[in-house]
Amino acid sequence: MDVTTILILLLVGAIATYFSGDKLASKVALFFSVATLGVSLYLLNEFSKGETINYLGEWMEYPKVYLALQADGLSMLMVLLTTALTPIIIFSSLGNTYSNAKSFYALVLFMSFAMTGTFLAVDGLLYYIFWELALIPIYFIALIWGNGDADKRKKAVVKFFIYTLAGSLFMLVAFAYLYQKTNNFLLGDFFNLRLSATEQFWIFAAFFLAYAIKIPLIPFHTWQAKVYQKAPTVGTMLLSGIMLKMGLYSVIRWQIQIAPQAAKTLMPYLIGLSIAGVIYGSIIALRQKDLKKLLAYSSLAHVGLIAAGCYTLTLDGLNGAVYQMIAHGFVIVGLFFVAEIIHRRYETREISAMGGIRSQSPKFTSLFMILVLASVALPGTYNFVGEFTVLYSLSQVNIWFAVFGGTTIILGAYYMLKMFQNVMLGETNTKVFASITTNEIITLVIIIAFLLFFGLYPKPITDLVNPAIKDILIHINR
Amino acid sequence: MSAILIIFYVLAAITLSTAFLTIYSKNPIHSAIYLVICFFSIAGHYLLFNAQFLAIVHIIVYSGAIMILFLFTIMLMNLNKEDEVHKPRITRLGAIVVFCVLSAVLITIFINSKTIVGDYDTTGEDFQSIKKLGKILLNEYMVPFEFASVLLLVAMIGTVLLSKKEKTNK
């Protein structure tokens, strides 16, 4: 068994979901996503035993494209993130009913398929194909099942699509350029290229555009908040939980490895930009009136920090970035689910229309509180491990980076607590807040359990990622 | 200056001026007649080249067939009135400018190019008799020759198609 099983399973799942009909769709999708999680856990086991689970097959002769799927610790972790979050996301959506559910869940699984592929591919074009493929389902999910005014939604979603596509097309040019030097797209062969500084710069820039838009870094983030707001929550979760990580993962896997010299030269500016994003996102989140938008900007701040970690090019920075990716993936999914839970009951995302929920639903409040605390990286949650490692690595580069990056500790607490206060606390709300269902509790508890467990005992993840990152660093410092 | 040269110049003058008058005259019928003259003068050129067959064919096809078609159409549309509206002045001016530029450019290029000096080949062999043309046409050029029939067939079907009245119910 190798990693293709995951992909095939997801693809088959998508097709099966489509043909299972609207009523069964969610269950079939859930079944397949759980099965995929099982398979990927099994593969993790194989992987940790040292078995090879990579796959290398021929695909195209011209252009020379291999079906090269390789799982090192990093990829494996990202795949697990995807396959773990997908069932959670699907499970969380069981409380909603969607028109044309079969297409909806098929698209969700298909997106999961594409994202998994992105994390596994080590052939440039294959990777690019997966990368783009992931965009199409989310486009439709946001477009068709999104909320809010249709015209505005369209505008936001189309902007998102074109914008991200625009970025990635430049990446394609970079790949084309590399291709005509190596005559294939294998990552390994790209390493062996002796690219001049100028070449590296331009290739780095092309990749950067793609990733900066996807991650997003300021000032390329303008698509984010609106799409998060307009997309259905499942879409938002997929976007924020996994898809953003595609960009960050790619930075580590492709950008800094192919053009390390450029990365080193540009490092201060990149970190500076990322940290500016942290501060900008945090500040703008302070006064958001829409819950999902606020979470979107908090996401912007967090990914900024992760990106800063990636661009430090140090072991700690990369490790921390990966930890933080995982942590952020879980916590943001949880938070968006919280927004959804409230929306199910209050039919609103306006923060001002909420408040006073705590006295009605203490359980929900506690779970939400823990997520908020995880989001502000309270020690004991996995987010802290990530944030600490990243900030530490930043401090090793330049202490000021850590100081400014560290403002997220303060500002993050500020806007998250403010949000929590306005959403949950205060005089009991006149609107009845129906008590939280078991499904909802299960979803949140799984997420929280994950975050707390690895917050105290991050060693398994560390052991998985560390060797992979060390390999990557060897390439960077070649 | 030999007679032939004089004939050439005369013919050339006729060709160019009638061509110009074709365009310039306001009455379409006049245009058509100028065009016929133009075609005849071109036939004269062919004769100068000693391409008699071509000259005959030219006269038959152009002056005989095509021009008749034109005239017929003009008559059909009753266009002999001088209701011709000229294009706006700017357009006409533009046309003149473009004409001048284009001819100037092309002629400049040809003048600047390597002039052909020396004798022209005269092999003395027959290369343009009817016999020779026929042989070439039906041997080497058999395929295009046949293919040209497809062309004419298409044109024929097309003309029919465009003019045929449809039966509205089948």
Binding site: M60, E61, Y62, P63, L125, Y128, I129, E132, L133, L135, I136, F140, L143, I144, A150, K154, V158, F161, I162, L165, A166, L169, F170, L172, V173, A176, Y177, Y179, Q180 | L106, I109, F110, N112, S113, K114, I116, E140, Y141, M142, V143, P144, F147, A148, V150, L151, L153, V154, A155, I157, G158, V160, L161, L162, S163, K164, E166, K167, K170
Partner: protein, 459 residues
Amino acid sequence: MQTLIAISALGVFCLLAEIFNLRKALVPVTIVGLLAILGITLNLWSIDSSIDEQYKSMIVFDKFSAGFSSLFIILTIFLIALSHDVYKDHQTKISDFITIKVFLLAGAVAMVSFSNLSMFFIGIEILSIALYILAASKRLDLKSNEAGMKYFLMGSFASGIILFGICLIYGATGYFDVAEIYALSQGAGLPIWFPIGITLMIIGMLFKIAAVPFHFWAPDVYEGSPAITTALMSTLAKVVAMATLYKLLSGLTVGLTYNFEIIIVIVSIASMTVGNIMALRQKNVKRMLAFSGISHAGFMLMALLSLTNAASTLLYYTSAYALAGMASFAVIIYVTKNKDNEDIINFNGLGKTNPLLAAVLTASLLSMAGIPIFSGFFAKFMLFTQTIKAEYLVVVIAGVINSIISVGYYFKLILAMYTKEATEEKQATPFVYYAVGVISIVLNIIIGLYPSLVTNLIN
């Protein structure tokens, strides 16, 4: 040669069919006939000794021509399959239409397999005249007349220029035979007539593929023509012209001069940009696709920058483009069948009323936009790679920017299908639209997944 003869014979058969009142059987028989011809063509290609000595001086049926001919035949099959439903109210004319299309195919095949400029010239004239007729074929519709007239006037003007070009080439070399001209062009000492002749011919072909600044006819003609003719023009005719242009350039000259490449670069960038930008604000789908076609012409022109080895890429690109175009036109013809215009509004709610056709149209538009797994993506990618190799990065950048712009208008249509409410009830859909749409998009995806199916045909 056999292909050409067979196609012509099929055309004659179609003519005769009407006489013998075989109208009902006409379309199926023609399709079967074309399939057989496709078989012959592929067979010829596989044995590779297909160079028919007897007609060598006129027709060379090599891999290039076999590859493109096969593509043309496939496209014609689709078009003729669609004809059945489109012309069902014009039973008296159906055989004429089909005959013209078959002959048009003959012209097209001649254009990619000529070895003598006379064949090229007659081929292009058959193609053009057939198109003039088809464009104007709705004789009572002023728009169609206008389209035919515009196309005819400009087309014959372009023919004059091509003819002038041929004449100058002949004057410079004394031959119409491509091989001889190629041999002579390698040596020095040709008069300046030769490059001018080549240039004029290329300009004529640029007109046919609707490259800027010779593109103005395209949107008007596409819009005015009957939808099925537009489909023909935007898929078959454009592909034929492009293949011919490539064949002319690679067949007649050793390599382009630097200055000429600059011209190609400028025309290519201009075509992409103008086509895409103009397409943004179009309401009429046919017109939009016309501009999209202009931009694709710009993309295809990139292939001329690496003249020696771009044949397979060009075939791939044209196949991808034409198949996507065919799929989209199958849907467009269906949607606008009983409408008096082709505005985007007509597509509202198609995603709900007819999900399959909506999916087909979406896929074809995505392919044209260059989204992966659809062959349009690989096509663009191959072109980019080759152009980068030829060191014209600037064209690639322009191409990328234009790809981005193009998404803007392709998605306008997709948005209309999926987010707007339908204006009318679902109508019965003849099977043929599904067949054509689905088959062509599936072919598109298949060659997307296995590009070597196409690229190996020539290389």
